[in-house]
Symmetry: C2
Subunit: 176 residues, 2 copies
DNA sequence: CACAATTAAATTGTGTGCAATTTAATTTGA
DNA sequence: TCAAATTAAATTGCACACAATTTAATTGTG
C-alpha cells in the first residue's frame, strides 16, 4: 500500500546514490521520474506531517466532548501532573513557545479550567493553576487514550517502535 | 532518553491493563502517577506531533532560500511531477482541503511560481500550472532532501521503518 | 548603588489546517 | 427540459505554530 523509500539519499551528506530508487505511487495521477528525490510518496517527512495532521483530526471528535483542542488537551495533561507550572517549563515539556502558549492559555482561562497567576517572588513568571473544573475534567479525559489506541488499530508493540523512532528523530532535529 | 509506553493501553478498546506502566520522566518537575494513561512522555501521538513540528522548523532555513514554506514546498513537489493538476487531485495527494490550498496557491501565484487557470471543459475546476520560474525552482530544491537526511542523522533503514509505521498509522486513522 | 545584560511573557504578523458554509457550474432524473 | 442534486472551489471563522520584536522584571557587575 505504501512505498518504501525516503525523502533523501544515502547518509554522510555527500554521497548520493542515484540508483536503487523505484516503485510506483499509491496516488492518482503522479508520474514520478524514477530516481527523483522529490517524489512525494517517498518522503518520510511528508508521511510524518500527514500523520500528525491525521492524529489531530482523529482526536477532534473525542476532545470536542471536553471542549478542548488537541494542543489544549496536551496542556491539560501536563497540568494534571504539574499544577502551578510556569509557561517556560510548560513550553519546555510541550516544545512550544510563549507565542503559542500565551493565547492558548488565555482561551483555557476563559473556559474556566485554569487561572494564570503572577509568580510570588518573580513578577515576570506566570504560574498556571487548574480550577476545580479543570481538575475534574481529568475524569472525562481518562478514556481518551484508550479510544485513540482503538482508532490506531495497530499492535502496541508497533506503536512503541514508532514512538521510539519519532523520539530519536526529534532529538536529532532539535540538536541544533 | 525517552520513555517507551504509549498513550493508551491494551488493544481491543475494552480491556484496560492498569499494571505494567512505570518509569520516570525526562522532564523537569513531572510527578506522574504510575499507571496513568495521561502521562505526556508516554504518548506516541505527542511524539509524532512534536516531531512533525520539529520537521517543519528544520526545513524552514533550507526553504527560506527558495522563498517557500514547507506546505508550499510540498505543493511544488507535486507540481513538478503533475503540472496542470487541479485542486481536488492536489488535495487528495497532499491530504489537504481547498480551505488550506486555495489561499496557499494564491500566495504561490503572487510569488509568480504558478498560475491558477479555469478548466477548459469545466469552469468549476482550477488547474495549476507552473511558470518558468516555478519550473526552474526545482533545480534549487533538488538538494533539499539530502540536506534533510543529513539533519535527521539516522540510518536510512531506520527512517524507512519510521515511514512505514507512519503510513500504516495514517491509513488506519483516515479509514473513517 | 546604578545600569547593562538577561530573562519571562506578551505582542505582532504571517501562514497554515480545517470545519462549516457559500457560490457557481455541471450533472441527473422525473 | 429544467429543477434538484451533486460537485469544485472559495469563503469564513477559529486556533494553532513560530519568528521577531517588545515590555517589564530581575540579576549581575563595576
Amino acid at each position: 500500500m505504501s512505498n518504501d523509500k525516503v525523502d533523501l539519499k544515502m547518509s554522510q551528506c555527500e554521497e548520493v546514490d542515484h540508483a536503487s530508487v523505484e516503485s510506483c505511487s499509491t496516488h492518482s495521477c503522479s508520474i514520478v521520474e524514477p530516481g527523483s528525490n522529490l517524489a512525494i510518496e517517498k518522503q518520510l517527512c511528508f508521511s510524518l506531517y500527514s500523520t500528525a495532521n491525521a492524529i489531530v483530526r482523529a482526536y477532534r471528535p473525542m476532545l470536542k466532548a471536553l471542549d478542548l483542542t488537541y494542543p489544549q488537551y496536551l496542556v491539560m495533561i501536563v497540568l494534571w501532573s504539574n499544577n502551578g507550572i510556569n509557561i517556560k517549563d510548560l513550553g519546555q515539556i510541550l516544545h512550544l513557545d510563549s507565542g503559542t502558549l500565551t493565547p492558548l492559555l488565555k482561551r483555557l482561562e476563559s473556559k474556566h479550567v485554569l487561572t494564570r497567576q503572577r509568580g510570588e517572588n518573580d513578577e515576570r513568571v506566570r504560574e498556571i493553576f487548574l480550577t476545580e473544573q479543570g481538575i475534574n475534567l481529568k475524569n472525562q479525559a481518562e478514556t481518551v487514550p484508550e479510544k485513540m489506541l482503538c482508532k490506531a488499530k495497530l499492535p502496541l508493540e508497533e506503536l512503541l517502535e514508532l514512538k521510539k523512532g519519532c523520539d530519536r528523530l526529534f532529538e536529532n532535529l532539535i540538536a541544533e
